[in-house]
């Protein structure tokens, strides 16, 4: 017999390592006194209570002894229990002392019982027996209690349980009813809340077809394929495959994702369920889950009934995101395994403009963006995970909605239904396998990174298609599609050019541009869109309405020179971009600008191009210094910022400068920006960390800021040189800008090249006298600039009239003329005198400036089709022609008759031989006669129809003008006023 030391009693947890050493003690662990006695004490207390109760019952007549005796007699169970407890404690006591006794009980008795039961019954049976015993015990207890309460034997009480329950049934039913009412409120609330946000469209409800989706052919083909699989699942299922169940369309806004989904709905014979983006935003926990469940119940029903169903989640990013996955890596919020939305390679800006502007914009985004430059290209988008993480993950779908959706999407293959699962099993049948629910899930988003990754795994979303910006061919098709819906006069080349100069146009922006063009045309009282309408609409879309700010002359000249320098530098150096427009009209956040566009789709950028960009940026500084005597304005700040930023990026990011190392990489590695290695052989430096040794070109700077400054000043010098060579062009463009305020790209080129532009005649600038005037004006302006005085000379105007000036004036906002000079509406940006122009004006019909254009210069560019000649012919001339023809014919006939009469041959064009006149001649004459008569008839018909058409056109134009008035009235008062003023101004001339 071994005795263990009495255990020390610890309050709380014991110290580490002070636990029992003996893993398998031979005796029972000693019990503390409290554990030994607690049940006995409890029983004693109960006994005491009963005694006290007895005494109290026979108050005053019962001695304690009798009370004890009575209690012992009546409540002997307490004594039995106490006895059992005593026996147990004695058993424990012996177990604590005697190893043999302890071993006997633990290993022989209990262990043997354990072994026997394990041998005899398997786990399941033992569980069932235990369960039955528990039931029996509870029933016995209930029977005892009931028997005691009802003063009958327990067995009898047990038999009367149903009667008892029945007796209580009315009350139970009442309670149940109350509970149903209480719970029912919530059920009703949730039921109502879980409605809505889901619309079902049946075939033929939607008219959109795939042919309405333009410019996204590759995606459309793929989506069509999915529809084919949905319509004919056997094609792939018979071969062991499965129907792809999910498509994600992602891409920038306006590229036709929703349209494509609509086309799917219109082209398929299956019902189409549209889920609102806001459907899963809800007030209570769990409503979203209910909604998802009810949505999928509906989907399954539809899928069974129609053999398939398409469900479309618009703006799927509203479904939310549970945050980064565990694999998020050490990068914080970045993804080490990015979703498929990341374009591989250098130009990671998958659907954002890979333009320099975006690069700059990113740097302008502030220090937050600055702090994570290496992250940006990798995430491939401007989406900031922190932002949408907070927005979506928290609010959005949230609260289990997303999880419910994930489960429902991949849980379509479980057996469902109460009867299926329970009743069939009860009858010994296996549950039916679920039918094939063919549900095609389509989602559209422009924040693909905001989607949960689990949603995108194959099996849920099998196919992920980018609906990017349409290709040029697609844009052309889109433009044609939209232009074909309206009346227009654009040629294919013009549409081609339009598609070229709107590189990131989407379906939505194209539609908008066409509509804006139409509005522009309608405001001019025309029904037909012309090229200039399109250009004006594009400019309005790009720049917004210009502010009505009139520069003082010397400032206007400075701004014009500034922009002209940009334009000339752009034209001379930047061959990868075309000038889109140049303007000195003050906008919301600029004084003037030169905008450029890419002439063709190009996806890489080169050092030469960036240098050209920088030179264009620096041209303003160089030009201002050059033209204003080393003075320069603060207006160059933005230019310098972009130039510096690009130079910095070239130097530090793109390997286009003196050094090679990538600054972001250095920063990630914790190294400070290093010195440039020697570009020349023999440098011997160890790159950016070591100190370069050996001979160095002293002129080449070392540290990064110096390197950037070096590059900038080098390019500045180059730019200044370029501008010196192009002084005349700069001043010409500046003059054109001062005169017209806004120039299209082609016009800028025309001015520089000195030829006719689409809207402006550049040939005037070839004249040397005129250049001298311009130069003189510049000198005067520069002097005024230094003296802060008035410019003594007025802006020289070319001798030749500028044809489209009226159009430009109209475009420069219906507002500008109100302020400037209402009567001289013919001239834009003029300083009030326009003698050359005025006489020509009144002759013009007010609405259709190109129609009766009498001016010497053709009003339209070669791109514009010249109107049909008959419409130009005046009626008098027509009748004269007809008269002449008739006279000739009559004379001929007379001659023929004269010659023919001696022979007595009558009739016109007789076939017989005529004396004096060879028969061939006669036939010829006759044929000519018939042809002439026919020609006259045709001409008359043509003229008539033309007249009728013209009348109709005029009537339609009048109606359009009325409509425009109405439109103006429906617009906001300011616009309406402007429109009315515009008309009133034109009124006297009409």
């Amino acid at each position: 017999m071994s005795t263990a030391l009495p255990p020390k009693h610890h309050e709380g947890l014991r110290e580490p390592g002070s636990g029992p050493v003996d893993r398998d003690p031979v005796t029972r662990k000693r019990l503390p006194l409290w554990d030994r006695t607690k049940f006995l004490i409890l029983l004693a207390v109960a006994f005491g209570v009963l005694v006290w109760n007895t005494v109290a019952t026979y108050e005053g007549i019962m001695p304690l002894r009798d009370a004890l005796a009575l209690t012992v007699r009546d409540a002997s169970w307490i004594l039995w229990l106490a006895g059992a407890e005593v026996v147990r404690q004695v058993h424990f006591l012996i177990s604590e002392r005697s190893a043999g006794y302890h071993r006997f009980w633990t290993q022989k008795v209990f262990g043997g019982w354990n072994r026997w039961t394990h041998r005899r019954f398997n786990d399941w049976n033992r569980y069932r027996i235990a369960r039955a015993i528990k039931w029996a015990v509870w029933i016995a207890v209930i029977a005892l209690v009931l028997g005691r309460v009802q003063q009958v034997s327990p067995l009898q009480a047990l038999f009367s349980v149903p009667a008892t329950v029945w007796g209580f049934l009315p009350m139970v039913l009442q309670l149940v009813l109350i509970m149903v009412v209480a719970v029912g409120q919530f059920v009703a609330i949730f039921w109502f809340l879980s409605r809505g946000g889901v619309d079902v469209y049946y075939p033929d409800d939607i008219k959109t077809r795939f042919s309405d989706v333009w410019g996204q052919d590759h995606v459309v083909e793929r989506v069509k394929e999915n529809i084919v699989f949905l319509e004919k699942p056997d094609e792939i299922e018979a071969r062991g495959g499965y129907v792809p169940s999910g498509i994600l369309l992602w891409g920038p806004p306006g590229t036709g994702k929703t349209l494509m989904a609509e086309a799917v709905a219109g082209s398929t014979g299956k019902p189409y369920v549209f889920v609102d983006p806001g459907a899963f935003i809800n007030m209570f926990f769990g409503v979203g889950v209910l909604k998802v469940k009810s949505l999928f119940r509906k989907l399954r029903k539809l899928a069974l009934r129609y053999g398939g169903v398409i469900v479309f989640f618009d703006e799927a990013d509203s479904l939310g995101n549970r945050g980064a996955l565990a694999q998020g890596g050490p990068g914080g919020w970045g993804r080490s395994v990015p979703a498929p939305f990341e374009d591989a390679g250098c130009n990671g800006f998958a659907y954002l403009d890979p333009h320099t502007r975006t690069v700059l914009g990113r740097h302008a985004a502030g220090p937050a963006a600055e702090a994570a430059p290496p992250r940006m290209p990798r995430t491939g988008a401007f989406v900031n995970r922190i932002v949408y993480g907070a927005g979506m993950g928290g609010g959005g779908g949230g609260m289990g909605t997303l999880e419910a959706l994930l489960t429902e999407i991949s849980g379509l293959k479980k057996p469902r239904g109460f009867v299926n699962r329970y009743v069939r099993r009860l009858l010994g049948m296996r549950p039916k396998p679920p039918p094939k629910y063919r549900i095609l899930i389509m989602m559209a988003t422009n924040l693909p990174e905001a989607l949960d990754e689990a949603l995108l795994r194959p099996g849920r979303i099998d196919r992920i298609y980018k609906v990017g910006y349409p290709s040029k061919a697609g844009r052309i098709r889109t433009y044609k599609g939209y232009f074909d819906k309206v009346s227009h006069q654009l040629t294919d080349e013009q549409i081609d050019k339009l598609a070229t100069i709107t590189p990131y146009a989407t379906g939505a922006t194209i539609k908008d541009l066409v509509n804006e063009s139409l509005i522009t045309a309608i405001r001019d009282g025309r029904e037909t869109i012309t090229w200039s309408d399109v250009m004006r609409a594009k400019r309005l879309k790009q720049l917004g309405p210009p502010e009505d700010v009139e520069y003082i002359e010397r400032e206007r000249h400075a701004v014009a020179v500034h922009e002209a320098c940009h334009a000339v530098a752009a034209y001379r150096t930047r061959h990868h971009l075309e000038i889109d427009l140049a303007t000195i009209e003050k906008g919301a956040d600029y004084l003037g600008m030169v905008a450029s566009i890419k002439p063709e789709d190009q996806f890489t950028r080169w050092k030469s191009e960036y240098e050209a960009d920088i030179m264009v940026s620096l041209a303003s500084l160089a030009g201002e210094r050059m033209f204003f005597g080393e003075d320069n304005s603060s207006g160059v700040s933005g230019d310098l910022q972009s130039a510096t930023a690009i130079t910095g990026l070239m130097e530090a990011h793109w390997g286009m400068g003196i050094g090679v190392a990538s600054l972001p990489a250095l920063q990630e590695l914790g190294l400070r920006e290093g010195k440039a290695a020697q570009p020349q052989p023999g440098g011997g430096g160890t790159g950016f960390t070591g100190t370069p040794v050996g001979r160095r070109d002293e002129m080449v700077p070392d540290m990064l800021p110096e390197r950037i400054e070096f590059n900038l000043s080098r390019l500045l010098e180059k730019t200044a040189e370029l501008l010196r060579e192009n002084r005349r062009e700069v001043l010409s463009v500046a003059h054109a800008l001062e005169q017209h305020k806004t120039l299209n790209g082609d016009d800028v080129v025309a001015v520089i090249e000195g030829r006719m532009g689409p809207l402006i005649d550049g040939t005037v600038y070839t004249s040397d006298e005129f250049y001298e005037e311009i130069e003189a004006y510049h000198v005067a302006a520069a002097t005024a600039h230094q003296a802060h005085s008035e410019v003594p000379i007025e802006l020289p105007l070319p001798r030749t009239r500028v044809i489209e000036a009226s159009v430009v004036a109209a475009s420069s906002g219906g507002a500008a003329p109100v302020l400037v000079a209402p009567p001289s509406n013919g001239l834009a940006g003029g300083n009030g005198h326009a003698p050359a122009v005025q006489p020509a004006e009144p002759a013009q019909p007010d609405f259709v400036p190109w129609n009766g254009a009498p001016p010497p210069v053709s009003p339209v560019s070669p791109l514009l089709p010249s109107p049909a000649p008959p419409s130009r012919t005046s009626y008098g001339a027509l009748w004269a022609v007809v008269g002449v023809v008739v006279a000739v014919v009559l004379l001929t006939l007379l001659g023929v008759l004269l010659f023919a009469s001696p022979r007595g041959v009558a009739g016109a064009g007789g076939a017989a031989t005529v004396a004096g006149v060879p028969a061939g001649t006669a036939v010829l004459l006759a044929v000519a006669l018939v042809a002439v008569i026919g020609g006259i008839a045709v001409a008359v018909l043509l003229v008539r129809s033309h007249q009728a058409g013209r009348r109709r056109a005029e009537e339609a134009r009048d109606r359009a003008a009325e409509r425009a008035q109405l439109l103006a009235a429906a617009m906001d008062p300011e616009v309406a006023m402007r429109l009315l003023g515009y008309d009133g101004r034109r009124g006297p001339e009409a």
Partner: protein, 225 residues
């Protein structure tokens, strides 16, 4: 030391259990009326007692009265019998007989209750007018009435009571002494009566024992009657 206390308690209870109580403690169904009789006295079978008290009648009125009345009886005789209530045993040694009755009063009875009503509550008329007494002596089986003692018990906790000791010669039998205690409960709805019968000799001989029983007869105010 807790263990020792518990052990002592257990031991005491076990001991007392073996010995058994000296008295039988009795209380009515509601628990308001209780008393004790020596443990050797034995309870009378309820059915025979009912027969003795209410008679054989199966009338509806009797059934209603039965609902209102709780009775019990103990007999010190070796062969307990309900018949000993009024007559005593014919043998040599008469033994005391205890009869207890708790009656819920009807509203009329509650209004009419008085000390005399309490004296008459056992069914043996104690307080009757002289003329009635004379008539009873002549015409009924209630003969030989002698009042030995009459005492109005002090009011305790609103409970009023009367104790009367008297002799009667009933049904032509020998003279018997009756000791009657009657209480009106504090709320005036219940009359509890304890009646002990013995022969005059027996009554004198066992006066202490009988007095213990009478003194133990108590009525208490119930919290929720």
């Amino acid at each position: 030391m807790v263990g020792t206390v518990v052990g002592a308690a257990v031991a005491a209870s076990v001991l007392s259990g073996c010995a058994g109580p000296d008295y039988t403690y009795v209380r009515d169904d509601a628990g308001g009326t209780y008393f004790k009789v020596p443990a050797s006295w034995r309870q009378i079978d309820q059915k025979s007692l009912d027969k003795e008290v209410f008679g054989e009648t199966e009338s509806a009125t009797a059934q209603v009265v039965k609902q209102l009345v709780w009775t019990t009886a103990f007999d010190a005789h070796a062969e307990p019998s309900a018949g000993h209530l009024l007559q005593g045993s014919p043998g040599a040694e008469d033994q005391p007989f205890v009869f207890a009755k708790v009656e819920k009063l009807t509203e009329d009875a509650q209004n009419a209750v008085s000390l005399n009503e309490l004296r008459n509550s056992s069914g043996l008329y104690v307080a009757v007018p002289e003329e009635t007494r004379k008539k009873m002596e002549e015409a009924t089986a209630y003969k030989g009435f002698e009042l030995l003692a009459d005492e109005v018990l002090p009011v305790t906790d609103g409970v009023r009571g009367v104790r009367s000791v008297f002799n009667y010669r009933l049904l032509g039998g020998p003279v018997q002494t009756f000791d009657e205690t009657a209480y009106l409960s504090a709320d005036g709805t219940t009359v509890s009566t304890l009646l002990i019968r013995c022969s005059p000799l027996c009554y004198r001989k066992r006066a202490a024992e009988i007095d213990t029983v009478v003194k133990s007869f108590k009525v208490k105010r119930l919290i929720n009657p």
